[in-house]
């Protein structure tokens, strides 16, 4: 099987080290980052990462939990969702 994409969203107040910490956690789980984009609108930081979880060393739910905990430490909300939901909603 080729790539298995998932989308990570980070929403919250901007601070130093958000991308660094998320990327570090992903690297530790052997997850490849395919794309990153971010905006800051009215002090709210939104980052969206498209990642490939095919070779992830951890189960999806554990990864989700780790990201959530990391978010709590950084004061932002982090979630990971499989790509299919976006495909269903935005592509015919």
């Amino acid at each position: 099987m080729s790539e298995q994409k998932a989308i990570i969203s980070v929403i919250g107040v901007d601070r130093v080290g958000i991308i660094y910490n998320v990327s570090k956690l992903l690297a530790e789980n052997n997850i490849n980052i395919l794309d990153i984009s971010q905006t800051i609108l009215k002090d709210i930081f939104t980052m969206i990462m498209i990642v490939d979880i095919k070779n992830s060393t951890n189960d999806f739910n554990i990864l989700k939990e780790e990201l959530k905990n990391l978010g709590e430490n950084l004061g932002v909300k982090i979630d990971i969702q499989k790509e299919d939901i976006f495909r269903a909603m935005h592509r015919l």
Binding site: I7, S9, D35, T39, D84, A88
Partner: protein
Amino acid sequence: MGFAFEEIEETIRMVQSEKLDIRTITMGISLRDCSGNNADTIAEKIYDKITRKAENLVKVAEELESEFGIPIVNKRISVTPIAIVADNIEKDEFIKIASSLDKAAKNVGINFIGGYSALVHKGFTDGDLNLINSIPQVLSETERVCSSVNVATTKAGINMDAVALMGKIIKDTAYRTKENDGIGAAKLVVFCNAPEDNPFMAGAFHGVGEGECVINVGVSGPGVVLAALSKLPKTADFGQISETIKKTSFKITRAGELIGRLAAQRLNTSFGILDLSLAPTPEIGDSIANILESMGLSKCGSHGTTAALALLNDAVKKGGVMASSYVGGLSGAFIPVSEDAGMIEAVEAGALSIEKLEAMTCVCSVGLDMIAIPGDTPYETISAIIADEMAIGMINKKTTAVRIIPAPGKKEGDYVEFGGLLGHAPVMKVNSFSPKDFIERGGRIPAPLHSLNN
């Protein structure tokens, strides 16, 4: 294929701040092979079958919720109308079967099980009558069982004996649960043209034309529609409003379709239908009334409300139908008073009456829903409210329903409190002129003509 930042952000926003959710994953289970010579045998077979089929329902729903980041609020079960499975059982024995349903629901971890039902639009069997007469006891002594009775169809007309009986049953059910403001009646629906694949409670049952086991999914998102409409300029015309609702409804439906198909696959069963219903919750911003008001009505219930609701209901269906191959159930907009903060406000302001709600049911997906009325309302009046609603459904070839709560000891202007998704509601005024002689006539209102449609 990549996604635009805005697309991803839109989905996340819909879930996180606009309350998009999968309202229910409902497993429909046929109990037609669970008949038996006595209530104990039937109860045992039912318990075994439900707990076997639905063993992994909650687990799979939770997995999907985590993987796709969309909340799945309720996991539920609908079963073959019990009057069909247990047609040979005496009235006093029905509680054994209902308790078995309740126990099975609890065991598999779901909050409601629907199908304590009878289909009596043309007439009663002895079993139907026994089941209906057991409803007050069953709804007051079980926790998760929901009941529905279909008393009319466009093809058969209205069984007015059943309408008269249901007035009494509703009153008795409310009375037996008087410590909780008559909550038993909130688990009881009277239908015209009941759909066989509706995943929403309290009216869900697994129809006789359905297969062994199916997954039906109900999606919701009044908050998403409201947010989309609020981005339109005040001068946007009705074409633009309709277009916006259609696009939003398309996206919501696609999310539901994906979850439904995956749920069916993982539970080794088939996907039945996707029910796209805008179902409000008591949370602020998740209201149908607010959507209607956003079109320019100062309060839901003002003149113009029926037209606004007609537009909303139709646009929701048009968007949803293209997004899923199998749209079914009730599909449209629900207008339950106690579950919609905007509706409650409209009643409090004096803008919304039962008569206006009745008019609204001509163009929305179901009927008079979650309406609290004074506890001393005579049964004939409740039956007459049902008769009017059934007539609307019968003539207009649509599903209509009545879920009304005569709150014991409460009068107009008081409040009832059900808690959770069922919400709270002001007790509404009921027309005090008596329809007693009309209701006592009995018999059937004949099926209507299908031509000369004026």
